[in-house]
Symmetry: C2
Subunit: 207 residues, 2 copies
DNA sequence: TAGATTGTTAATCGATTAACAATC
DNA sequence: TAGATTGTTAATCGATTAACAATC
């Protein structure tokens, strides 16, 4: 099914966007969609959408478009969302709390399965029903619970050492909210979502 | 100074990363840095760094490198951070609270100057010393306080209408944490930072 | 001077878009 | 059949990297 080219990060970044729109169509009981309609709603070139999808298989029907349910299923397969994906959160501060409580909205088989913090005062407490564990349990809990992704919401000064711990524990992808660059082996993907650099690059476009 | 090419978004996204590392060097009283050193620390090709910077002027000295203080000043000018940049936050839920409290860390002349929420129960309350205002004051407060950027932390279902209000009020850039695509005029930049799509694209790389 | 490093050109690489035959 | 729309090739566009003369 999938062709053996290497897939660009840009394509992978667009798949969740497509999935989100398709889920919306499902909720509205729309059964078929064209690349044109998707493109119009998502501000993406229709040819790009067709090309992105064709990378993984022939999902559409000429003259008709894409079956919404089928395409949702296929994209979920591609994104490995067919089995539950467990996520660790490191840093139970304000931001960590907010993201954990948001857990309910992490649809599509994603779940925060463990929370870690180095503040002894927080140990034993729970966030969104998940106990806060000390950092030194991280190395054991992550493989035990088969956690593969992690969210970093610690201060910038601690981010690299947390990244190192996570990598050693077998984490394969990190979403970093700390305002600092972190480095890991090539086989660990790192995405950045920090407020500061996002806002700073927006500021460039002022006036 | 600045050349009249159009600057790619990729370059603009890297400038805050450079700035962050340079600030770190400043704190450590390092006065000079080479593109090689920067590249090594930030995982960016040195030629890319030189090219990015050369887009805006001749900031370096051949054989020597870049003066850290001078380069910081120049990048801050390019990013329009020489005057205070005011930011509105819409949605005073958990995530909004977390980001507002983080305000102290929004260095480099950025400040959350107003917070809006449509929950009557929250009105009059404060977050990080900033009063929560009702949505219908948005159209007046934003131009009054010369707010140019906004952060959206409302539920996905409300994000587009909030985006419309912000755009009408004159906002020029939006950082969207809601898990949905939003659309605005071409002159309004939108950056996305939602947890769900970030995690989903990370999941692609599992095993 | 010799070594280091920039700014810039040229080469490479990759991503996006247009166009269209195939076909539902 | 006629209209619509995919999958894919070719063309375009843009971004990254290598290489090196200029020069501190």
């Amino acid at each position: 099914m999938a062709k053996h080219e290497k897939i660009s990060e840009a394509v992978v970044r667009r798949l969740p966007i497509y999935l989100r729109y398709l889920s919306y169509l499902q909720q509205n009981e729309v059964t078929t969609v064209s690349s044109q309609q998707m493109g119009k709603n998502l501000d993406v070139n229709p040819a790009q959408i067709r090309k992105d999808l064709a990378t993984f298989g022939d999902f559409g029907k000429k003259g008709i478009g894409y079956d919404v349910n089928y395409l949702v299923e296929k994209i979920r397969q591609i994104l490995k969302l067919t089995e539950e994906v467990r996520v660790a959160l490191v840093g139970a501060g304000h931001l960590g709390h907010a993201i954990s409580n948001y857990n309910a909205y992490l649809k599509d088989n994603m779940r925060i399965a463990a929370i870690f913090d180095n503040d002894p005062g927080k140990l034993g407490k729970e966030v969104a029903g998940i106990p806060i564990q000390p950092m030194d349990e991280l190395a054991k809990t992550i493989p035990d619970k088969q956690i593969k992704l992690a969210i970093i919401t610690v201060p910038a000064s601690a981010a690299q050492s947390v990244c190192d711990l996570l990598t050693q524990a077998g984490i394969k992808g990190i979403l970093n909210f700390a305002p600092t660059t972190i480095r890991a082996n090539k086989d660990v993907r790192i995405h950045y979502a920090d407020v500061t650099s996002n806002l700073q690059s927006l500021a460039y476009y002022l006036t």
